[in-house]
């Protein structure tokens, strides 16, 4: 499996690593990795791949180092490319670098899997690249990378749109929890209700997110025009209100479905035992059924959160802002760096949220016991 990561990395050494352009929109020239560094990279990757066979204990460290080297080169090569260029020049990452990072990811993942049988130190070493990456970012190593250059231009806007993105996701999740939790509890006790509720939520899901956002414009602007109280609260046809409504509707299905499955999945034995101990219906729900159902239910929230990161990035189309702002303005002006400035954080946000909530699930699962 280490070879599966090493192969793209070795290939990447033959591809261009940096694209140097006189300004952010112009065509540019591709630069390759200098021969000495490419040879060094090839050696490191070969060592990492071979260590899986001959010295498995060294594999996590070597894999981490290989991935880090690619990140180091991203900063170093863009800086080298830009020396002596005009201030408008941009150096962006090219196919070689992306391929190296992909291979490096597989290498680290493989080494990390194998490290589980070797002890704590090896597992930690397989994650060494992460603090390394943070450190490189903190010392400004990537300052000359075109996406960071774009960020410097857009700094205040970036903070605002990222905040808006997070705000949309968290509010929609909160609303879905407030609406979905009681509904799920009700549906888990009544087969007919659960059929109707899950059917409706499933129906909403077949409507494309783009369309759902658009279809809410009309009813909400009607509401805003006829109920001045709502308008003063900021409800209008475009902007945050329709985006938030659509996102809440979307988040409802996973929250409801997992809620019903989780609450029904609590073993009847546990509930009988609780009844035998003299617990009232209320006590049984709060102390037995809910804690046992929580880990599975939480995974519904995780699915919803990950999906909402995606829906929120489309929300820019109805004027709700978010990271989609950068993606769409980048698409319109053909500025690849601007697209990356929106797409990379959105992707990282989704992956980060997924990992965070998975961790929380595992923690709750081990504390509360499995259903």
């Amino acid at each position: 499996m280490l070879w599966l990561g090493a192969a793209p990395m070795l290939t990447s050494l033959l591809l261009p690593w940096v694209l140097l352009r006189p300004n952010r929109l112009a065509a540019g020239e591709f630069l390759r990795l200098p021969g000495a560094q490419a040879a060094l990279g090839a050696l490191l990757v070969m060592a990492a791949a071979l260590s899986g066979r001959f010295l498995p204990r060294a594999a996590p460290l070597l894999a981490s180092l290989s991935l880090l080297t690619g990140l180091w080169w991203l900063g170093a090569q863009t800086t080298t490319a830009l020396t002596g260029q005009a201030t408008f020049a941009r150096a962006s990452a090219s196919s070689g670098l992306w391929l190296w990072l992909l291979g490096g990811g597989i290498l680290v993942y493989g080494a990390g899997l194998a490290a589980r049988g070797m002890g704590r130190l090896q597992v930690l070493l397989a994650w060494l690249w992460l603090p390394g990456l943070v450190l490189l970012a903190l010392i400004g190593h990537f300052a000359d990378w075109s996406v960071i250059a774009e960020y410097r231009v857009q700094r205040s806007r970036f903070g605002q749109e990222l905040g808006q993105h997070l705000k949309l996701i968290l509010s929609a999740l909160g609303l879905a929890a407030v609406i979905g939790a009681p509904l799920a509890v009700w549906a888990s006790r009544n087969a007919r209700v659960s059929g109707v509720v899950l059917g409706l939520a499933g129906g909403v899901q077949t409507v494309p997110s783009l369309a759902l956002l658009g279809m809410l414009i009309a009813p909400l602007s009607w509401l805003a025009n006829h109920l001045p109280a709502l308008r003063s609260l900021g409800v209008s046809g475009i902007g945050t209100a329709p985006a938030l409504s659509a996102m809440t509707l979307y988040a409802l299905l996973p929250v409801l479905r997992n809620g019903v499955v989780a609450l029904r999945g609590v073993s009847p034995g546990a509930l009988d035992a609780a009844r035998g101990m003299g617990m009232t219906d209320n006590q049984r729900f709060w102390r037995v059924q809910l804690p046992l159902a929580l880990p599975v239910w939480l995974s519904g929230f995780r699915q919803a959160a990950v999906m909402l990161v995606g829906v929120a990035s489309v929300a820019q189309l109805i004027g709700a802002g978010g990271l989609g702002y950068f993606i769409f303005s980048g698409l319109q002006s053909g500025a690849a760096d601007l697209i990356l400035l929106g797409a990379v954080p959105a992707a990282l946000l989704a992956i980060g949220l997924d990992a965070l909530l998975r961790g929380l699930e595992a923690l709750l699962g081990s504390k509360l016991g499995k259903v």
């Binding site: 499996m1 494309p208 993606i327």
Partner: protein
Amino acid sequence: MVCLIPGLLTGTVSRLTGTEIPTLGTPLWSLTLQHLGLVLVAEVVVLLIGVPLAVVVTRPGRAALMRLAEAITGLGQTVPTLAILALAVPVLGFGAPPTLLGLFLYGLVPVVSNGIAGLLAVDQPTLDAARGMGMTDAQRLRRIELPLSLPVLMAGVRTSAVYNVGTATIGAALGTGGLGTPIIEGLSQQNTALVVIGALLAALLALSLDGLLGLAVRAEE
């Protein structure tokens, strides 16, 4: 399939919402076919790559490879569709290629994970019996494992096709065409009727695909 009769839908929605509907450059039926084409092409590629992948990683002694396959396809599902599409634009340009890539990555997850689940669920005694009958590994795969795991695999194909009908609408933002076109046009012209038409057609397309695939599965059994 009613959705393919031109004029009927436009008239109804226009009357319901009370808005004039501007004619699009491309007729609706052709957009629908375009949309269907995108989804089907992506689905075929998904099957061509996803099924062999599921078979390869479920062979004995490849547990690590299986986890890698699940991790990578899971990542494809986690990263927002728009981000994948937008990231592909600098490399592949505008139009159908980035959308197809996005549809492929997005559609791969249910097929691979269901393929793996289906193949793992084939029970050991059956396989042992087949081996006892003198079947080779290839014969067992073709005559026992694949047929037995087909229902689970097809469920994955259904999910993936239905999701992709929705995902493909986003491709219109990259100029791919398809049913996202009326939606995006409607959004930029503040014309809800156009949005509703695109949404309705996409939802109908998703439902009919789901139904057709469901029928195919039942006929198979």
